[in-house]
């Protein structure tokens, strides 16, 4: 039973399109995250939600909009995709916002052409 799952696993799309990535965790955790891993493997936090409330919002273009319908789900919508958005996007969860133990999903590999 997958703890943190993401869909889709791969996403290939053209510049200017809008796309969404979905994440679900079945660990009963309160806090969820979106990370971006670029081609050099740097993993950087984008957003974090705690019990559906946005608590971390790093310097990310406002074309990226997270949404948490409930504490087990965190989605990421990206408008007007650009070439530089190509990366692997990871969802993660932790017991609470202060926990250093984060559990990552398998990632969504986004390619913008």
């Amino acid at each position: 039973d997958t703890a943190v799952s993401q869909t889709p696993k791969y996403l290939v799309t053209q510049m200017g399109n809008d796309k969404s990535i979905k994440c679900e965790q079945n660990l009963g955790h309160d806090t969820m995250y979106w990370y971006k891993q670029d081609s050099k493997k740097f993993l950087k936090i984008m957003f974090s939600y705690n019990n559906k409330e946005l608590i971390i919002n790093e310097t990310v273009p406002n074309r990226f909009s997270p949404k948490s319908p409930d504490k087990a789900h965190l989605n990421l919508h990206i408008n007007s995709l650009e070439l530089g958005d190509s990366a692997v996007y990871f969802c993660a969860s932790s017991q609470d916002r202060g926990s250093n133990e984060q559990y990552f999903g398998p990632g969504t590999r986004l390619t913008v052409t």
């Binding site: 493997k41 740097f42 993993l43 936090i45 202060g98 984060q102």
Partner: protein, 114 residues
Amino acid sequence: QEEVEQDPGPLSVPEGAIVSLNCTYSNSAFQYFMWYRQYSRKGPELLMYTYSSGNKEDGRFTAQVDKSSKYISLFIRDSQPSDSATYLCAMMGAGGTSYGKLTFGQGTILTVHP
């Protein structure tokens, strides 16, 4: 300059070797120090963590933190081909702006060849 610096390697060692992986950091607010392992095309998984300074051992893995030098290490003894992966250090503060937010190093690519 990044808050957390990690040599990306790649590092190639023979099976059975002792591997040393390191990170340096600049933010003195960091209190939690983690090592994640990431296999190719997979998500990172937590290997071990240390709070503040000191050592921690788990099987073949030992994590060391030297806060005075802002330097952390992960040692892998008797390395196995199955240890081949990217190892990422990560850090978090106990309060302030780094609270609840992992800051990662770039990751070191390790290959253990038979």
